[in-house]
């Protein structure tokens, strides 16, 4: 059974569907094939499946953190178990209701991208220059929808892992949107030409701040300094109860810091490229070097952008201010 969960998950992820949506579909499948006879059993099976999914490795997640997976699964559980406490029907009827709710939630999440594009695309007007960062498919969907009716241009940042990524910009080029590539360090320079900034998010914290690919915070700071609107396009299942108070908190919560220590040697064979997970031990110096102190290479994968830098959020629940995130979460979790 455990093997089945992750395999199913992987096969769904490969179909370009969002990771949390894939997870929700896996959970619905799990409920359907479950042979539990009581609610406690079913809930236990679901929780085990969620724990398995949360332990999915980086490769399965396509390079993203597992924040959206965690929040998606938690919200799914909340949404689905709500049904249960209300009805007094016998178990099989309840199970049907749970499956129905689960499928509904999964479908809502799947269609989130289109809904976000529908609410957000009108914010881009003719002649605008839009700065984007990160590789959010929600943002791409929004821009492609806007391109159907508006003439605008896009500036794409370098992002991770660095250098021009033609795969990512291909959809824009195909749609005929003039696209410019800049390095992350040039955001300050380019901001005066920009009319609005648009990013996605991997997770939304309870205070309305977002967790997104490294570099987002910097762009938000620059946009704020030059009074440019900074918009976030994100699905509502990414709302989570995290409350980071600082960047350090965020990195601790997401366990995403990647740093290695290397000794700078004459033959820099041991220089690190962005390698995986936490600090690996210092590589032993080659015999012909003089003693140099170790260089720490710190490559966090995500950063936290506080709510006061975010102008508005485009979500499948509509256009929200960052303060409304907590409203949604309290409503869902307080019942």
């Amino acid at each position: 059974m455990p093997d089945n969960t992750l395999d199913l998950f992987r096969s769904l992820v490969s179909t370009q569907v969002a990771i949390p949506v894939a997870a929700m579909n896996v959970l619905v499948a799990k409920i359907q094939e479950s042979k539990a006879a009581t609610w406690m059993e079913l809930e236990l099976e679901l929780r085990n499946a969620i724990a398995l999914l949360k332990s999915a490795q980086d490769e399965d997640l396509g390079g993203r953190t597992n924040i959206s997976l965690t929040s998606g699964c938690d919200l799914f559980m909340k949404y689905v178990t709500r049904a249960f406490s209300m009805e007094n029907l016998e178990f099989s009827a309840c199970k049907k209701e749970v499956i129905r709710r689960g499928q509904r939630f999964a479908n809502m999440s799947l269609s989130a991208r289109t809904q976000i594009a529908a609410v957000g695309h009108s914010f881009i007007q003719d002649g605008y220059t839009v700065l984007i960062h990160g590789s959010s498919r929600v943002v791409s969907a929004l821009l492609l929808k806007a391109a159907e009716t508006t003439q605008f241009s896009v500036i794409v940042t370098e992002g991770q892992p660095g250098d021009i990524n033609l795969e990512r910009v291909k959809p824009f080029l195909d749609a005929g949107i003039p696209t410019k590539f800049i390095r992350d360090s040039a955001v300050g320079v380019i901001m005066e030409e920009v009319d609005l900034c648009l990013v996605g998010a991997e997770g939304v914290a309870e205070n309305g701040g977002i967790i997104n690919e490294i570099g987002t915070y910097q762009i938000a700071l620059v946009a704020n300094a030059l009074r440019r609107p900074f918009y976030v396009a994100v699905e509502s299942y990414k709302f989570s109860r995290m409350y980071p108070l600082s960047q350090k908190d965020t990195l601790a919560m997401t366990r995403s810091r990647r740093s290695t220590t290397t000794t700078a040697t004459a033959a820099s064979s041991s220089s690190s490229s962005s390698s995986s997970s936490s600090s690996s031990p210092t590589s032993s110096p080659s015999p012909d070097t003089t003693t140099t102190s170790a260089l720490t290479v710190d490559l966090p994968a995500v950063d936290f952008t506080p709510a006061n830098f975010i102008t508005l959020m485009f979500t499948d629940l509509g256009v929200l201010t960052p303060a409304a995130v907590s409203d949604e979460l309290i409503r869902l979790y307080a019942q």
Binding site: N207, G208, Y243, L245, A307, S326, A334
Partner: protein, 305 residues
């Protein structure tokens, strides 16, 4: 209730509790005997105490202990039972230092010090030194008297200053408050609704004169000071006159000693001040950490229960 009001002007939190008591009383079934009714009300009150005050304190403690990291420097202002509880339980599992900021006239910070100095390494500083003490601080934890609907907070005078200093340095400010302190009132500044303490508290510069049987009106503070046992309730005819004995600065002595007429200046001893929404980073309540903008949402949720 009038007796309580006479002893001490009600804070908003107390107002909420009194409203709850009235609600309980109104809910008593008419066919119960007097004893049964009393038992009913007492049990309701007991469960309120357990739930909303004691248990809430525990879960807030847990939340905040989670927010404090090892090697943090935490700053707090004044004292409250909740803050003392948070700090002592945090000290059991985390390694951090504490800066206690304090102010005249009540010196409530000494209470905090007394409670935790045995397990946490503390620094004590007056409000005038808070800006300097903030240099190393990584987070500020404050207690509140009441949280208003517009996200701002009423707290002992001096709190607003600490919060705005911390905000100027981008240091997170966390407020610990149980949900019974949430009020649907809105207040835009500190003066609109406040409590006046006795002016002698701030005018009296020599502490030995204070303990020599100073006369205090009915609005005496409730015993945070060491000399509480020496306080006596006296008439408050013209309060300002009674303080002439205690004024020691030469200039004031000459101008006030001129008999039973009003002193040339007003002494305003405000007890509370208002910390605006922008200076608060997070509020810790029973349900976890929430942003200050969510106060009215929680009030709505609690009312719909």
């Amino acid at each position: 209730i009038q007796y309580l009001v006479d002893c001490r002007q009600l804070s908003k939190g107390m107002g909420n509790i009194i409203r709850y008591i009235r609600l309980c009383v109104s809910k008593v079934a008419p066919d119960l005997s007097e004893d049964q009714s009393k038992t009913f009300i007492v049990s309701k009150l007991q469960s309120f105490l357990d739930d909303k005050i004691l248990f809430a304190g525990e879960s807030i403690s847990k939340t905040l202990v989670g927010s404090i990291n090892d090697d943090d420097v935490v700053m707090t202002f004044g004292s409250s039972p909740l803050i003392r509880r948070i700090l002592s339980s945090a000290a059991k599992s985390k390694r951090f230092r504490l800066v206690v900021v304090d102010t005249r006239p009540l010196h409530e910070g000494l209470e905090t010090l007394a409670a935790v100095t045995s397990c946490i390494s503390c620094v004590y500083c007056p409000l005038s030194g808070a800006a300097f003490a903030l240099k190393d601080v990584s987070k500020v934890i404050l207690g509140a008297s009441c949280l208003l609907s517009n996200g701002s907070m009423l707290a002992p005078a001096g709190t607003a200053m600490v919060a705005s200093l911390a905000k100027a340095k981008q240091i997170p400010v966390i407020v610990a408050a149980e949900s019974y302190k949430f009020s649907d009132k809105v207040q835009l500044d500190s003066i609109v609704f406040n409590e006046l303490g006795h002016p002698s508290e701030i005018l009296c510069f020599r502490t030995d004169e204070q303990s020599e049987g100073g006369q205090f009106g009915p609005q005496m503070d409730s015993g945070y000071r060491g000399s509480a046992d020496k306080l006596s309730v006296a008439e408050s005819s013209d309060v300002l006159i009674d303080t002439t004995d205690m004024i020691t600065t030469p200039c004031s002595r000459s101008s006030i000693k001129s008999g039973p007429t009003r002193a040339p200046y007003e002494v305003v001893n405000l007890r509370y001040d208002l910390t605006p929404l922008a200076n608060i980073s997070a509020i810790a309540t029973e349900t976890g950490l929430i942003p200050p903008t969510s106060v009215p949402i929680l009030i709505r949720e609690n009312q719909s229960e």
